[in-house]
Amino acid sequence: MRSENDLAERSPAASPARRLREAFDALIDVPFAERSAWLESNIADDAQRAELAKLVEADDARGYLDTPVMERAAKFAADDLVTATLLGTKIGAFRLVAEIGRGGMAAVFLAEREGNDVKQRVAVKLLRRGLYSELEQRLFLRERQLLASLDHPNIARLIDAGVSEGRIPYLVMEYVDGVPITDYADAAQLDIRARLRLVIDVCHAVEAAHRLLIVHRDIKPSNILVSRDGQVKLLDFGIAKLVEDDARLATATRGIFTPEYAAPEQLGGGSITTATDVFGLGVLLYELLSGHRPRGTPIRKPSSIVADVPLSSAPIARGSAMRFKRQLRGDLDNVVLKALAEEPNRRYASASALADDLERYLAGHPVAAHPASTWYRTTKFVRRHRGGVVVAAAAIIAVAASMGLVIWQARVAHAEAKRASAVRDFVESIFAPLSNGTPENKQPRISELLASATDRMDKADLDAAARVDLLQMFARLNEKIAEPIKAQALADQAYDVAQRELGPNDANTLDALVSRGLIALHRDDFDTAAPLLEEAERRSRQVGGVGSSLIRLYDGLAVLADAKGDDPRKAVDYARAALAQRLATRGDDKASLGTGYNNLGYGLESLGDFAGAADAYRAAHDLAAATSGIDSAETAVTLSNLGAAEMLAGHLRSGRGDLLRAKALLANVGGKQRSIQVANAQQICTAQMAINPLHAEEACAADLRMTADEDGDTSGDYGLALRRQSLLALERGDIDASRKFLAQAAARIDATSNAVWQGRVDITQAELQLLGGQSKDAAHLLRRGVQRIGGSYPPHLRNYGLALLALACEGVVSDDCPADAFTVAAHEIDTAAYRGSAVLLPAQTVLARIDLQTGRSGAAVARLEFATTQAMGEMDADAPRLLEAQGWLARAHAANHQCAVAAQEFATIKQIAATEGLTLHPFLVSVAGAAPSCAR
């Protein structure tokens, strides 16, 4: 009687649902036999009692949820459905006249529009699936709009699409009266050249769709009809996507989707790109040339197939088998196999590139497809220009990478073949001054070639896209020869041309926008770079982007996120996105992957995953060494990055080793790598200081000198170098010198308005104050410093700040002291990805001191044993930080009643301190003075 009231009283605002749940929870704890009694006495309301009884009954019984969802779905999954007689009914404005095709995903009808005098004949495709979710409707409409915009003489037009009154989604397409392309070619007894011409037409049509980012996905002879007058028409463009899941289902169940035509990535569930259609075109070509679909791995050359099959089944039955074989062998075999490459990035970059190569074959020119295509092109080039090229080989090599990129981009951007060759011609003309047999010492410099090329470009007959590409190439080259201002101006110009001539949604415009942002970024002009790159990202989301643009965009965004330091995870996400994009578009292009890994390493470093970062840098280094050579700038840079990451991961010695190796490499690379040399020198100072500040004077003096030379002695960077001097003095025990350097550092860093740098000064300042016993001021500085540093790189500074804050706040009540200062610091340090790193030793020491102060000697022992073990092999035995930690460990042992251990440790520390003259070192006076009394 009263209990229901009790429930209600316990939670007066509880809803009926809440009460039901509470009663259920209580009831299931009641033994089965006592349940009805419980219900009687606890639930007054009859209806509710009945409901609860049913609930516990359902609780005991099997039911719907005991059968897995997939089994449920199977009960009404794909089954064989056939059409009823739909003939004569109307779909939209069209009456269905005859069924002309049927598949698992759709049935196709010939239909006519009535009225007027002219009967319009169309093909109506009825889809099997409904479009219930908003998502599907949205996708369907979006696709429909996209397909409707596809207007090409060789592509069957989409006339209408919608959902019928009977709620069947339908598509109305141009009706094509023709036969499949293979049948046509055989019936008309076309020779190889005529067949190639047909395929070239198909390629151009596919290319036109690709420019709208529409992928066919299902290119096969039955989808390519040829009308009586010989015109090619592609059917069903983009339709496969509309019905994708059913199409894939069909692959496995009904076989209507001929697996021989599917690209490897379709069968394997990989991502479908324009390269998928290039594969489809390859299959088509193969079949048209050999009469067979490609089979097996690796796919056999078409020429070898022709000889194997009886003549009657060969497509060109009346010709001589030997002649076809000869014609196919070599270049044409290579073209087909390149289109059919298993990895998408090894195929032709676009349908037009395939068409381009077929044209070249027809014209008797060398084709691009070749087992060693890059080398092949270069040797031909050299052969034609022998003389000039030989002496200018060095200049060629310097520019070849950029040239290759431009040509590659011209293809990937789905430009007309014409455009690609116009660019090629122009780029070749840049080298014209080199090819006249001019003596080597009178050869023009690269900067002169570039300047004259830029001038001449206005007069050259190039379309807007090509101009944009070239301007960007010039911008990049100017960056390479250290002309950043010229580079920026050229990039701006490229963007202006693209925006004006191609419009804001063009892939080239996006690429130019990315270039502008990147060049600003390379100049460390983040305020200019950020809005440009963010705008580019927005646009790329709206209009998509070419792989190479996206790679550069994500690279830039990763660097930017890293530089801003407010969200390190973002940097990693972007770096991963760039790496994924690289793998997707360039596959095992080592140079590009190397950059990807290097950037990923940066991101992981920002997150504090130094071990992961080191792995990434190691990969980048190996790739750089393999592509650019062991003594290249790239190799040196990655090595320097690797060294810094290893150091932070706690591998101080191998880190220093790599930094020193990078230093040696950079000294040989020379010239333009000055800023990298300086950064490397700064890292060497830091590494040496961590290993042993007593022997870091030379390394840190070099750091200070080089930073002054590079950035000027009033710069913020110089301020940071001065702060390192302050730290060095502090670690060597010279408090006065440390203060002096820090004041000089602060003056420069305060002028920069860089909060992170200011935060670092705050923390060092506070540490100095704490050594002088001023804990209250220190707390204020530390809280501010930690806030200023935020999540910036490297994270161990923030952790040290947090630990010092906890120390300063121990037993102090102040606005600057959070109540949980120690918990926060301990949590961050104990859960850091680099918890075991030697760079955390000072922070661990501070935490252990607090443990000791608060009577947790066991915790202090554990913490310091862990930290000193990690640091021992990495730091020199006489490094004051290590001695300090060992001193506190001895104290902790003493407090923990481990007297013998403590005494032994004190003796060792005292001896080392005495030998090295460190007895009065401020780190050690408090710990190593006299051994505290210890009693078991």
């Binding site: 359902a58 009404f76 998502l135 996708l139 069947i168 289902l249 996400d573 991963r576």
Partner: protein
């Protein structure tokens, strides 16, 4: 960073694109499993985990946390079941397509199964209003195929809390579905 989840794993509004992508991929993978069903058993967990691994290794989709992924995958699987059910009902009954190959009894089973699936969705929606967390547990447990232990981890709650949520939700749904 297309999407975020709040502390309870609720899918936030800005996440359309990411959800769409998960839905599309799940649909393909579930379809493939269903197509092969004669040869092997159907395994919800395997489908969802395969999708998770693919998202992780291909890095096409960026989830800030596995919990976010599973919330999306569960929701997607739920949509998928209902969408399939609606398709089948339309094809079997009112639409212009007819099934000729199935016997009456088979057809009855198909219709009943589809109707049950829709009823589950409706009831789950009621449960959402009464006990949202319990409904979420059903999504993760039933639709994403997570173990209760994993559900607890994903939602950041005690195992015992999750056990009770599941028990209540299961009883609630079974009672309603008969």
């Amino acid at each position: 960073m297309a999407a975020t989840t709040d502390s309870t794993g609720t899918v936030a509004g800005s996440a359309d694109a990411l959800f769409d992508a998960v839905y599309e991929r799940l649909k393909v993978m579930a379809g493939r499993q269903l197509a092969k069903r004669e040869r092997g058993t159907l395994d919800t967990t395997a489908v969802v985990h395969e999708l998770y691994l693919r998202c992780k290794t291909q890095r096409e989709l960026n989830f800030s946390h596995p919990a976010q992924f599973y919330a999306y995958a569960a929701r997607a699987m739920r949509h998928l079941l209902s969408d399939h059910a609606r398709d089948r009902l339309r094809q079997c009954a009112g639409g212009d397509w007819q099934r000729l190959t199935l016997t009456g009894a088979e057809q009855h089973l198909v219709i009943e199964s589809a109707e049950q699936a829709l009823a589950l969705d409706d009831t789950l929606r009621l449960l959402e209003q009464e006990d949202e967390r319990a409904a979420r547990v059903v999504e993760l447990r039933y639709f994403a195929g997570l173990s209760l232990e994993q559900v607890a981890e994903t939602l950041g709650l005690n195992r015992s809390t999750i056990d009770r949520d599941w028990r209540f939700a299961r009883a609630y749904l079974h009672k309603a579905l008969g």
